[in-house]
Symmetry: C2
Subunit: 156 residues, 2 copies
DNA sequence: TGAAAAAATGCATAAGTATGCAATATCTAT
DNA sequence: ATAGATATTGCATACTTATGCATTTTTTCA
């Protein structure tokens, strides 16, 4: 059985979707989801998930997931768009050319805009080709690094 | 006397430059800096500074400043560029027009690029005017909010 | 399968942080 | 300068979170 694994997933979801500021509250929510554990276990769960506690900018604090888990579902779908469409990327000076499967250029280009990679100043998409303009001072290495960070397994 | 204010500055600096994971440790460091207070006071200081506690990605946790205090010095200088140059900003549809002091449009525009506000798709700068194109789906309210968050006291 | 090893959990309690209250210190408006 | 208002602080303690240890559950492997 993967009881704990399931619970961790639920905990993560609860933290993502609620402003929770202590473990007892989280314990309540977990109970409603059918998980009956003690505060001790929850404390260990949070440590495992690397959950942090930060200011709400007002007068309180709440739990927060590490950045890597904060990627929203919608962002994930854009990442999928990129993965599905992209074929190759090559550079010339501060311009890049992305080749995509036919008809995918727009979805990939739009996804890149949404992902707002700091290296990219703008894109123009045709049918199976995207023209990428790098921001002043950015190199193709910068962009590729950023790619690998935001879009894992780009080499699939 | 502004004892507390000074102390807060030191606390902030200590947190920025060290990996501190509890208040007693911080208390020690503060003592070395010549500030003798109790844990209770420090707890209040941290709340005031909106200090958070996040995972080091390994097995521990440490204090961290809110984003607004993490702004790098170089970023601050760009923020200054914007403050020095900007006069007004108005909108029409998904376009914005920023008026600047004569000759300042380029420094402000470049600073805006560097700051990479997610609302801005791109800018074109003349001599005392900047043309801002909002990203699809973004409103002028979004941009103004972002402005206020990243560039405090824009109304000076 | 049936041990032995590893992982997960609860209990009790230690460690860490926050806060009510009273005492001071600082600021404000005469 | 001075009384009243505000802000800061320490003390004691409540609240919150982490963890050592023993127990139970799950996994591994011969």
């Amino acid at each position: 059985m993967k009881e704990r694994h399931n619970r961790l997933t639920v905990v993560k979801e609860l933290i993502r979707n609620n402003r929770i500021d202590n473990q007892d509250t989280l314990l309540e929510l977990l109970k409603k989801e059918g998980y009956n554990v003690t505060q001790a276990t929850l404390s260990r769960d949070l440590k495992m998930l690397k959950v942090g506690k930060i200011s709400d900018g007002w007068s309180g604090y709440y739990y927060t997931l590490p950045e890597s888990d904060l990627v929203s579902e919608s962002e994930k779908s854009y990442i999928q768009d990129v993965r599905r469409g992209i074929i190759s990327i090559e550079f010339s000076g501060n311009f890049g050319v992305i080749k995509t499967r036919p008809g995918h250029a727009n979805s990939v280009g739009f996804a890149l805009d949404v992902l707002a990679l700091p290296e990219i100043l703008g894109t123009v998409a045709g049918d199976d080709t995207i023209f990428v303009i790098l921001r002043e001072g950015m190199t193709k290495e910068d962009l590729l690094d950023s790619f690998n960070a935001r879009i894992p397994e780009i080499k699939e």
